[in-house]
Amino acid sequence: MTEAFAPSSRPPGRLRWFGRVLMAFARRELTLFSRYRVGAVFRMLSFGFAVVSLYFFARFIGAAPNQHLDAYGGDYLAFGIVGLLAVELQQVGVSSLSYRIRMAQMLGSFEAELATPAPAWMVIGAAPVYEFGSAALRSAGYLVAGSWILGISFARAQPLSVALVVPVVLLAFISLGLLTAATTMLSRRSNPVAAVLGAASFFLSGVLYPVSVLPGWLQGVSRLLPLTHALEALRRALLTGASPAAMAPSLVALAAFAVVLTPVGLALFAHALRRARIDGSLVHH
């Protein structure tokens, strides 16, 4: 037997294996990032423009006291920036998995990846983990830059509350991502849910204004969206130093979203994967 072509050894344990897949995925994405620098620069520029316009808007709004902002520390700029960052995190959660699947289907790499010994959850799971990791780093960078350049104060942030809120928020967004990824696979179209959810959340969840300015019945509707609770919890933890106990209603709501939506998303996703093995749509354009 020619040694070079002899079958190689067995793969490692699942956790170590996923670590290797994740590292390889990150290496691949960073390599591609370095080859698509212009796109990355434009993405950062667009966020920069949003923050700058928010800065001037905040100067305008900040000229008069605003009782709706009292519960969030009174600084509109800080309020708005946390809103934009949370929207970006939700967008990553809702879109990254379905985008990865759709692109891989169109490029033809999805089937090749699923044909390797790696379980499907490893092949698919590396994208959201990597995307969330990089989005969290980006967000932290934006907050630090906002603090240094625009003078936003996070002096009242409660580290324990932040450490508790962030994973629960991410879990809730990931559960939404599972649902949208399953619908992408079943519909064989670009994510139809993400656009609707993004627009509805931006309008109803209080990204640029507190939910308290909405009519009562719309406030009720806004509570059905995870982003509403994520924004409430993140702002109170970052801007007012609220304790975990004080944020319990938001945390419980987010945990409920994760607990209910995750199994539904997983089941729907498993069904979508099986459906793709029946109708041959692992590769589709």
């Binding site: 079958p7 590292m23 290496r27 390599t31 490029l107």
Partner: protein
């Protein structure tokens, strides 16, 4: 090593406006394979020959665990392909002709290293195995060139290298020399038969509609036409059957 028993596959294409107006979500089922029964012994190279649309690719994808059969049963290395699972995919490698499943902006080496992780290799193992395989498929000097800049033959060779990253005992090759010039095709066939399959003790099932490929690669030939197996022959009998 490979066994198929009364294997059937029907596709249900999604309905268009006409079907929806009739209250149906799907069009009529399209049969791709009907009652396909055959076996391949360990160490054997069997070619499945048939025209475009005969069902060769469908058969290979079912055996790779990527498609579920509608009826019947198939086993590869003693594992039920309908169950799929990591064990099956460790034993089976599917290499597809007209390869486009690599990332065009990554080099050949970077692509292999990425897939190496999916095969469970550490970064160091993936690097050394990628280098070794690039050497063996004659791509060592092109390892740092982007996949998008590869010629068709180079893409095929890279796909074969990827198929060998793991410990596959069974290779499923779908038109492995599709689109190659005669000399490159001849060299690749010789390399596949002698070094990749026979010398390493592997088993292979090859889908092809090229008599020259079948003669050069196969120990035995099965003839598939519109999803039905129509017989078999030795490789040198291919002209008579194919005509």
């Amino acid at each position: 090593m490979i066994r198929a028993l009364a294997l059937e596959k029907k596709f249900r294409p999604p309905g268009g406006l006409r079907e929806l107006l009739r209250g149906r979500l799907w069009r009529d089922p399209v049969p791709a394979l009907t009652g396909v029964t055959f076996s391949v012994a360990a160490g054997e190279i069997v070619c499945v020959m048939g025209p475009t649309g005969a069902g060769k690719t469908t058969l290979l994808r079912i055996l790779a665990g990527l498609l579920l059969p509608s009826a019947g049963r198939a086993e590869v290395a003693g594992l039920d392909v309908a169950e799929g699972g990591a064990s099956l995919r460790q034993d089976v490698s599917l290499v597809v002709g007209d390869e486009r499943s690599f990332h065009g902006q990554l080099t050949g080496r970077e692509n292999l290293r990425y897939f190496g992780a999916l095969f469970g290799l550490s970064a160091a193992e993936a690097r050394s195995r990628a280098d070794m395989l690039l050497e063996r498929v004659d791509l060592a000097e092109f390892g740092t060139r982007r996949f998008a800049e590869y010629s068709r033959g180079m893409k095929q060779r890279l796909a074969i290298a990827r198929g060998l990253l793991g410990r596959a005992r069974v290779l499923l090759l779908d038109e492995p020399t599709l689109g190659l010039d005669p000399r490159a095709a001849r060299e690749l066939r010789s390399f596949l038969r002698h070094e990749v399959v026979k010398a390493a003790g592997r088993t292979a099932l090859v889908g092809s509609n090229d008599p020259a490929e079948v003669r050069a690669l196969g120990d035995r030939v099965l003839y598939l036409d519109r999803g039905v197996l129509r017989g078999e022959s030795a490789p040198d009998g291919v002209e008579a059957h194919w005509a």
